[in-house]
């Protein structure tokens, strides 16, 4: 039986999902799940920035890869910020590029596919975290290990 089906165990949180999108794990942090929040943040941040380090800022491209961008967008406002910053300041015509060629070099093949996958999966996992804090079982929400047998096993 799903934990969502149990009587009054579920409660809606409207602020927590917004916070969870702004910073992965912040929704859980607000609800008192500090350890879960740290792990969610660490996992998503490492995955997202590993993707950026492998593929460069070029992998976040709203116009070039709109479907992948939709998944990356779920990782938080960092995605539109990168897209905006890159499209405004890191183009071959920008002043920085004319001085020292400081603009993202386009990546191809696996150097583009793998980091795009990393960043999009990070966004999809953050969607799980957002949905988790949207309706959190009351017993679980009350404490870090406050999962009670009445709710049923979730893992």
């Amino acid at each position: 039986m799903s934990s969502w089906d149990t009587e009054d165990d579920a409660r809606f949180n409207f602020l927590a999902p917004v916070l969870a999108w702004l910073v992965p794990g912040l929704g859980h942090w607000m609800l008192g799940h500090r350890r879960r929040a740290r792990l969610i943040f660490t996992g998503i941040a490492v995955m997202y920035f590993s993707g950026l380090l492998i593929g460069g800022l070029d992998i976040v491209d709203r116009r070039g890869d709109p479907l992948w961008y939709a998944g990356q967008f779920l990782a938080g406002p960092v995605t539109p910020a990168i897209d905006l910053w890159r499209s405004r300041h890191f183009t071959p015509d920008s002043p920085a590029a004319k001085v020292n060629h400081a603009y993202p070099v386009p990546s191809f093949a696996h150097a583009n596919e793998i980091p795009t996958l990393f960043t999009t999966v990070a966004g999809m996992l953050n969607l799980l975290a957002i949905l988790d804090v949207l309706v959190l079982p009351r017993q679980r929400a009350e404490g870090e290990s406050g999962f009670n047998s009445r709710v049923g096993a979730r893992a």
Binding site: R35, I40, T42, M47, I54, G55, L125, A129, D132, A155
Partner: protein, 86 residues
């Protein structure tokens, strides 16, 4: 001397600007990817955090094992069975 230095500087990896050439070893990246997915997924799903890391390792190993099995299966079909029977 100066042209040599310039070429070295130009060829150096610039984080967030240059992609890393992963074409020869990209499949190894599946291990940290699966580990991080397991880490976040289990942080959301486990009822208590008591055996958290054990469950993360277990899920990572399970996913890697199934992917390895699928690799072997596809190898057998593509390299051995398909050329022989189709």
């Amino acid at each position: 001397m100066i042209p040599t230095l310039c070429s070295i500087v130009t060829l150096a990896y610039r984080p967030l600007l240059d992609p890393i050439d992963v074409n020869g070893w990209w499949w190894w990246l599946v291990i940290p990817l699966v580990f991080l997915i397991s880490m976040v997924y289990k942080a959301i799903r486990v009822p208590t955090m008591r055996r958290y890391w054990r469950q993360v390792i277990k899920m990572t190993v399970q996913v890697m094992f199934v992917m390895a099995l699928m690799c072997v299966g596809l190898y057998v079909v593509v390299i051995w069975a398909a050329p022989r029977y189709f």
